[in-house]
Amino acid sequence: MVNVRIRTMQRQYEVSIQEGEVITTPLDPPVTGTIYGALLNFKGALEVLGDAVHKAPYQGAPKAPVLYIKPANTLIGHRMAIPVPDDSVELEMGATLGVVIGKTATRVKEEEALSYVSGYTIVNDVSVPHDSIYRPAIKQKARDGFCPVGPWVMPKEAINNPDSLQVKVFINGQLKQENNTHHLIRSVARLISDVTDFMTLRQGDILLTGVPENAPLAKVGDVVRIEIDRIGFLENILVHEKDWNWGGRA
């Protein structure tokens, strides 16, 4: 059993869902904290860059986790719509495991890191496709509705090993991408440890463990569904931004 957040008559309610129940209504995101993402944390994603990491402007493979923030305006829930900006044709669907922090975490040791986790969720880190990762990609990653999260937070007890979860992306029912969190460069525990070495994570904050290489593209009208083992699936439709209302309902 998991809890989801639904909104009706301007109020949010928390509702329990039994296994096998089908959700057809848009849900509110199950989280409210700050969302931090880790770029290039899949082995394949770094390999795609090839020799470029040793050349200008990068001048070497990354040492610390490459982090970015998905600000509050990007957050939407399961079955809400993703707005496609007027100046974009296709958007990148960035499937990633979201680690939900359960208690204040500062300079956490890798061996103890998973005890700071309250659960896991599914996140679509949407981006306007961009080749250069030299400068922060605010215009490409921080647009309204660019971070669907949900449908729920699966309590950590339901997941034995977050470093062995299959991640699948379907667009209009067709499998477009498949990968597994055992290909992460930094495991979930290691990532929490390295990030909290210099910044505190608080209860409700979310750490995105990384988007696998070759993120699929989607356009207006497409339905994107991200499945992660043991958590469920997150589904959203893409609409043109002129047809999009705040809150993500098309």
């Binding site: 215009k139 210099f198 505190t200």
Partner: protein
């Protein structure tokens, strides 16, 4: 009006400046040294600008950018007036950055520059410390440089828009242990406040309480443990901060603290 958020006598209060003192929202008048200053706005989405003063871009050997160089900060990095910022033992170059912080007052989307000030509720001061040792060339400036715990003092006051006649004509100054080390004026911003609001709101919604740190002029120097760093902006106030070392910050981690000594 100058507003603050402070902790006093076991609780958190909104306060305003009155006769050189602080008046708490319950009416009490207290001395400013008797409170703990918090960020005047609870940080949610916070933008910061890199290389937004031509002289500073030159100082760092960069050409002025054609588009605003924007990065984001998390709530973890902010501390209030008169607090301590950690300088890690392995840092060799850690400098302050005195910046005018613009606070957004209502939701802003597709705002034209001529209307931009209608969306501003006030101004404060931020000191956007950077530890250059940790710079890497991915999403630069990376969070390990710019989003460390305690590395962004902000405050002391949120000053109402109507009290600042021209935010694009304010002197900024930084003093380290009383000595003037940085001096500039907001006139020299490459992308001014209306341009930044127009730019950001052209692709995303700005919300009430969002903050834009508008960049810093030239005059950056390394800081040392024990230094008192005062960042000052004309008409807005003086933000005081002290640099502290790992002997203070790593106390809970006994083993590490011993090694660092």
């Amino acid at each position: 009006m100058k507003k603050a958020r402070v902790a006093y006598s076991g609780a958190i209060y909104d306060a305003v400046e009155k006769e050189g003192m602080l008046q708490l929202h319950d009416g009490r008048l207290v001395q400013e040294q008797d409170v703990v200053w918090l960020s005047p706005v609870e940080p949610r989405t916070v933008f910061a600008l890199g290389l937004n003063y031509a002289d500073h871009a030159k100082e760092l050997a960069f050409n002025a950018p054609e588009e605003p160089l924007v990065f984001l900060k998390g709530p973890n990095t902010f501390i209030g007036h008169r607090a301590e910022t950690r300088r890690p033992s392995d840092a060799e170059y850690m400098h302050y950055e005195c910046e005018l912080a613009v606070v957004i007052g209502r939701p802003a989307r597709n705002v034209a520059r001529e209307n931009a000030y209608e969306y501003v509720s006030g101004y404060t001061i931020a000191n956007d410390y950077a530890i250059r040792d940790y710079l890497e060339n991915y999403y630069r400036p990376n969070l390990k440089v710019k989003n460390r715990d305690t590395c962004t003092p902000i405050g002391p006051w949120l000053v109402d828009t109507e009290d600042i006649e021209d935010p694009m004509n304010l002197k900024l100054r930084t003093y380290v242990n009383g000595k003037l080390t940085q001096e500039g004026t907001t006139r020299d911003m490459i992308f001014d406040i209306p341009a930044l609001i127009e730019y950001l709101s052209s692709f995303m919604t700005l919300n009430e309480g969002d903050i834009i740190l508008t960049g810093t002029p030239e005059g950056l120097v390394d800081t040392a443990i024990g230094d008192e760093v005062v960042t000052e902006i004309e008409g807005i106030g003086r933000l005081v901060n002290t640099i502290a070392g790992d002997n203070i910050f790593l106390r809970t981690d006994n083993e590490k603290a011993v090694i660092d000594r």
